[in-house]
């Protein structure tokens, strides 16, 4: 068996987030009469995002992570990428993780696309010593032409996506996380970037791919995990996994 690049052991992520509720002085008065202790500030509402999750991702795995909106797929990816610290449990990563979430983000809207590309290269690839060539390669790939020297704030969302994706798709990684990265690109650029992403996926050690597009998943992935309410409900082959996921409809629509 190949080497595990990502190991999640009994992983839990719980956020104590205060949930905003509409209130009135009358409600506070009535609640205080009923229970004076309710005035004491609470520690916040408990939002369990990931619950006792165990998962191993091996070299060569192209793992599709599917689930309905809001079940915690992105939070799980952010845990693996090091954004969130787990509440309990362990994450072991072997190698470098590169995670791509929403890439249509301008770092400095006043600066030109070209200048933003230079900055993005520093943020995304700090390990690269000479970045000139890779930046030129990405700028050419983006096909933004003269717009590269126009302030980023004047770009449309599609143009921002082109620049962001062109930069983000420059280097493979030991563990590559792609979270709905194609959103925002036009049809023609989408085909072009999809081809580039396929190369990126081929050259990376393990890939975690979050998508709602079954065709994209079938094309890219060789393993599928169905994630629901913080837990893994299915882990196996892609076709079977997609059938299982479709079967969740009654559960989700309850």
């Amino acid at each position: 068996m190949s080497e595990a690049l990502v190991q999640l052991e009994n992983l839990n992520l719980v956020l104590r987030a205060s949930v905003h509720r509409p209130w009135s002085w009358r409600d506070v008065f009535v609640r205080t009469l009923k229970n004076p202790l309710s005035l004491w500030p609470s520690a916040g509402d408990r939002l369990p995002i990931i619950q006792d999750l165990n998962l191993e991702v091996f070299a060569g795995d192209r793992l599709a992570l599917v689930g309905v909106n809001g079940v915690g797929k992105t939070s799980l990816c952010r845990c693996i990428a090091g954004y969130y610290r787990p509440t309990s449990g362990k994450i072991r990563i072997k190698g470098r993780v590169r995670a791509l979430f929403d890439v249509a983000v301008g770092i400095q809207p006043e600066l030109t696309g070209r200048e933003n590309a230079v900055l993005l290269a520093e943020l995304l690839f700090p390990e690269e010593k000479d970045k000139t060539q890779m930046i030129e390669q990405a700028l050419e790939f983006s096909e933004l032409g003269n717009f590269l020297d126009v302030p980023f704030r004047l770009y449309s969302t599609g143009m921002q996506t082109r620049l962001g994706l062109s930069m983000a798709a420059l280097r493979a990684s030991d563990v590559l996380i792609l979270d709905e990265v194609f959103d925002g690109a036009d049809l023609f650029f989408r085909e072009k970037i999809a081809a580039r992403m396929r190369e990126l996926v081929r050259d990376s050690g393990a890939v975690i791919f979050v998508s709602h597009e079954p065709e994209e998943i079938k094309e890219v992935c060789n393993r599928l995990v169905v994630f629901h309410q913080g837990k893994i409900l299915f882990d196996g082959a892609v076709e079977e996994g997609l059938r299982f996921y479709r079967g969740l409809k009654p559960l989700v629509q309850k």
Partner: protein, 273 residues
């Protein structure tokens, strides 16, 4: 693809620095600072001059009002003023500019796996550059015009390091709080305005009546400014080292507290931004 065994990263609830690489961090801070500076001075005629003009004009006006009009009884008043006012402007501007950093960098923080401290450090560094430029300019001009009578000028590096460290800690704390309490930014503006009068910046601490001295004793900003005042205006070796030690200690405490708050709130910061 070759995998290096040393690149094994473990993340558990407590660890804060797993996978941290100081060289990469510095490269990213440098890049963001350069971009911030470029962005700010684009399409301005005076460019960087604006940054220096603000403290220089403030210094000139306050020197005139407090030194000539109100005649505050302090020898070499302009030297005293520069040693307190320019560090104060640095602290207040850093606090005001850094408080919204996490809140406004939300989309970036969520898109790219870059430490949020990169954006914060870049903003602090931006202010440090402004501070050095303004301080060097005004101090040199005063030294040429009046003559320099303070302590060894090379020692200024030490209070400078202490104030930068302290400013980073305060900014870290405020930027974290701003994510949860959006009124932090307004409160800081208000505190800075009041703090200017309650901190011995344009008057010496001896002017404060005994009954109100505790204002100074509990004011962390004064501990960061005081070594500058002793070194440049009223140099006394023993007092300077004592004040410097206090400044580093205060900076240490602020950073420990900011780091503790950050570790507790880090996940929620990502959740809310």
């Amino acid at each position: 693809m070759a995998l290096v065994a040393s690149s094994l990263v473990r993340r558990t609830p407590g660890d804060a620095l797993s996978g941290f690489n100081a060289t990469y961090f510095w490269r990213q801070v440098h890049a963001v600072t350069v971009a911030n500076l470029k962005s700010r001075y684009r399409k301005t005629v005076a460019g960087f001059l604006w940054v220096v003009l603000n403290p220089v004009i403030s210094f000139g006006v306050q020197g005139l009002v407090f030194g000539r009009f109100l005649k505050i009884g302090v020898d070499d008043y302009l030297l005293f003023l520069v040693s307190g006012l320019i560090p104060w402007i640095f602290l207040s501007q850093t606090m005001e500019m850094c408080t919204p950093v996490f809140a406004v960098s939300g989309p970036l923080m969520k898109s790219f796996s870059v430490s949020p401290l990169v954006y914060l450090s870049a903003q602090v560094l931006d202010n440090i550059i402004n501070f050095i430029a303004a301080f060097a300019l005004v101090l040199t001009a005063l030294a040429i015009y009046y003559g320099y009578t303070g302590g060894p000028v090379f020692l200024v590096v030490l209070p400078f390091l202490a104030i930068c460290w302290g400013a980073f800690g305060i900014s870290w704390l405020l930027a974290t709080l701003q994510v949860f309490f959006r009124d932090t930014r307004f409160l800081i503006r208000f505190v800075v305005q009041i703090g200017f009068f309650l901190t011995p910046v344009f008057y010496p601490p001896e002017f404060i009546p005994e009954a109100f001295r505790w204002f100074v004793d509990v004011n962390p900003l004064f501990y960061l400014i005081s070594p500058f005042q002793i070194l440049i205006h009223d140099y006394h070796g023993g007092l300077f080292w004592q004040a410097l030690l206090k400044a580093f200690f205060v900076s240490f405490l602020i950073n420990v507290f900011a780091s503790w708050v950050w570790r507790r709130c880090r996940n929620l910061v990502y959740f809310y931004v």
